[in-house]
């Protein structure tokens, strides 16, 4: 399962943003499958507040890309009914914290319908949620809500960190016969990468982590918005003599134990990095899994670098909350290196 991300071919490749790749994934999904329907608040002529659905209503009509009333439970609840009738709804929740009204539908119905009906009524719904901080958003615009989703059996939880993955994973999520919570790191929307929008890479299967950078000193296990931060930390760590491996999980559920453990067994040290709070956060589960499976290979306890256990801070203070390069390197320094007293 371990794959080192391929360098994209340089022919016809130009810089593209994650937002463009997501838009292209929606467009290609709508074109490929008439049962795909995009719905949400402001996804029509406006193109969504982040412009991810830009142009879709114009190209596919209001019935395929629909501005709904402003009610998240209603959006997801009606999407359930549409999926019951054989459609493949792609729902946009405008912001992480605005998805909470839809939790009852998500937990009591979306996640359970396949199981409740012994497979007779699967719900192929994709729920896109822009998440995370770092964009200077005021209250309720920067939550990292992935732990809630991870704790709900029946959901897949997917989050891209690169332009190419944004496309591939969104296509795969929409094609999945299971409900997928697709978390879009909003501070990476405008990140650019070399990507050929005219020949997008093949669709990645959901559930596979990828090694973004190889190294033998320690493994940084991360996902979404923290991936670029970890890559930066790994670069900076060279000055300290550490070669850090960076694993991008891409999918929190299903969790790719194989890729993660393969890396940790080689390096013997691991730090989990995410924006979400540490207490009861994704890192708690990841650290436990790694410890259970790799205990005899570990030179030090698995550490977590997470957001503080506080309500998300106001924008002028958020830089103190978000895990940054220094905090990651401080954690790496505490991994009981030889010569430590």
């Amino acid at each position: 399962m371990t794959t080192v991300a391929d360098k994209p071919s340089t022919t016809a490749v130009k810089p593209a943003s994650m937002a463009q790749a997501l838009q292209r994934a929606l467009r290609d999904s709508l074109a490929a499958d008439p049962s795909v329907h995009v719905m949400g608040e402001d996804v029509g002529p406006l193109g969504g507040v982040f412009r991810i659905t830009d142009g879709l209503t114009k190209e596919f009509g209001e019935d395929r890309c629909t501005d709904t009333p402003l009610a998240e439970a209603g959006i997801l609840g009606t999407a359930v009914g549409m999926a019951m009738y054989g459609l493949r709804p792609v729902v946009e929740m405008q912001f992480d914290a605005f998805a909470y009204p839809a939790f009852e539908q998500l937990i009591s119905h979306v996640a359970r319908m396949r199981n409740r009906t012994k497979g007779a009524m699967p719900l192929p719904i994709t729920i896109r949620v822009p998440y995370g901080g770092g964009i200077g958003g005021v209250e309720h615009h920067s939550d990292s809500s992935e732990a809630y989703y991870m704790a709900t059996p029946g959901l897949h939880v997917v989050t891209p960190a690169t332009v190419a993955d944004a496309y591939g994973l969104l296509r795969a999520s929409i094609a999945s016969d299971d409900p997928v919570v697709f978390l879009e790191p909003k501070r990476l929307y405008w990140s650019k990468d070399s990507w050929n929008p005219d020949a997008p890479a093949s669709v990645e299967p959901i559930g596979r982590a990828v090694v973004r950078r190889t190294g033998r000193s320690a493994t940084l296990i991360t996902y979404g918005p923290s991936v670029p931060v970890c890559l930066e930390a790994a670069e900076a760590a060279r000055e300290e003599g550490w070669e850090l491996e960076v694993v991008d999980l891409r999918s929190l559920v299903p969790f790719d134990d194989a890729t993660v453990c393969d890396s940790v067994r080689r390096t013997g040290r691991a730090v989990v990095v995410h924006e979400s709070g540490g207490f009861g956060g994704p890192g708690s589960e990841i650290a436990a899994r790694v410890t259970e499976r790799c205990f005899h290979h570990l030179e030090a306890p698995v550490l977590r670098v997470a957001g503080f256990d506080i309500p998300y801070p106001p924008p002028m203070l958020e830089r103190h909350h978000l895990p940054g390069v220094d905090r990651i390197l401080d954690a790496v320094a505490r991994l009981q290196w030889e010569g430590d007293s």
């Binding site: 019951m84 009738y85 009906t117």
Partner: protein, 379 residues
């Protein structure tokens, strides 16, 4: 509007600009429900009712009542974990089922197993949830009956979405969703009605106002003139009907279903009825209501009402009455016999349908349970 200031007289050179043009977006008058619940039985309209329909309703009501008493008996015998009875509400349950065509969809709540049975579902499958051997005991696509829904009113947006999807696909399918008076206080009730009206979705909302949400009476649930009045705020018609009058309930629901099918959009129907039994077998209704109130409603029993009408018109002879009774007894006997058998369960099913493809983690956990089961078998 006595508190509203009169429009200012023109004074001096000051000319206040008028607000931009405003008019109501819909005429609310045709949306308003009748002042009293619509009735057929015991009124002049009864003579116009189709005898064949009345007889069919009668046979279904008798069967439905027997189903209710049998299911309640099964809870006492430990064969059902719980049963929320629809005794006294059979007219609503049956009328809902009969108002729909085969291609339509029914969205029942946990109290509406009878509606599902009246629509043709095997009673054993309808009661699977309440026996506790699985959550939904049937393939929803087979009779187009959504899974019995427990979280209140959360099935209503599903009905709207399904009806909307059917229309997008060009199918003339209608969805009928059932909810209780308590459920109208839930946010999902509001959101479902709003979406339905905005989308003009072919959906009918049937509120069975049976007087209580477990113990809480309607007066503590809403200050609305009636639950049917709530429709006006969404821009759809509200209809108020005597829910114990099977002919009236069937009339109103059939009309709403036709209207939806013809592209007229959704309707909210409030059927005024009464929950004769406690909330479930686990509830004690004497703690919150008087027997005298129950007796008043027993006197307005849906079966007695219809039987009276049929007898008066000479449509019901002893043979027919006995036939209905025999059919009901046959259903009860079959239900008793099959429910008295222990269901055969495979614990490994717990892992089979969580995802389309089992995750590594679930495969590991399934292996653990399998090992536990094998060890248990060896003991």
């Amino acid at each position: 509007m006595k508190n509203q200031s009169p429009v200012m007289e023109q004074r001096g050179s000051y000319r206040p600009s008028p607000p931009p043009a405003w008019k109501p977006r819909t005429d609310p008058a045709p949306l308003l429900p009748d002042a009293r619940p619509y009735r057929v039985l015991g009124t002049e309209s009864a003579a116009k009712a189709d005898p064949a329909l009345l007889l069919e309703l009668y046979e279904q009501l008798v069967r439905g009542r027997r189903y209710n008493t049998q299911a309640t008996a099964l809870t006492r015998q430990g064969r059902l974990a719980v049963y929320p009875s629809s005794t006294g509400q059979e007219a609503c349950e049956v009328a809902a089922a009969l108002a729909l065509e085969e291609r339509d969809w029914l969205f029942p709540s946990y109290r509406d197993t009878l509606a599902a049975v009246a629509r043709g579902l095997d009673p054993v499958q309808a009661l699977t949830l309440l026996r506790g051997d699985w959550h939904t005991g049937y393939d929803p696509h087979e009779h187009r009956i959504a899974p019995l829904c427990t979280p209140l009113a959360t099935q209503l947006p599903h009905a709207v979405g399904l009806a909307h999807a059917a229309r997008l696909k060009g199918d003339d399918v209608v969805a009928l969703a059932m909810v209780g008076d308590g459920g109208t206080s839930e946010g999902d009730f509001h959101e479902a009605l709003n979406f339905a009206a905005v989308w003009k979705a072919p959906v009918v909302f049937l509120v069975q106002n049976n007087g209580f949400a477990i113990s809480v009476p309607l007066a503590k649930q809403t200050a609305a003139p009636s639950l049917a009045h709530k429709a006006v705020g969404y821009g759809m018609p509200g209809r108020l009907v005597d829910g114990n009058d099977a002919a009236a309930a069937h009339d109103v629901l059939t009309e709403a279903v036709c209207r939806a099918r013809e592209g007229g959009g959704p309707t909210l129907v409030e059927a005024v009825t009464y929950r004769i039994e406690a909330h479930t077998n686990a509830d004690d209704a004497t703690r919150y209501r008087r027997d005298t109130e129950v007796e008043t409603w027993r006197a307005h029993d849906p079966i007695a009402l219809l039987e009276g009408e049929l007898t008066e018109r000479g449509l019901l002879d002893d043979a027919r009455r006995q036939g209905a009774k025999d059919a009901a007894e046959a259903l009860a006997a079959d239900l008793r016999e099959r429910m008295n058998q222990d269901p055969v369960l495979d614990p490994m099913d717990l892992f089979t349908h969580v995802y389309a493809e089992q995750t590594t983690q679930l495969r590991e956990q399934a292996a653990q349970l399998r090992a536990e089961l094998e060890a248990e078998a060896e003991r």
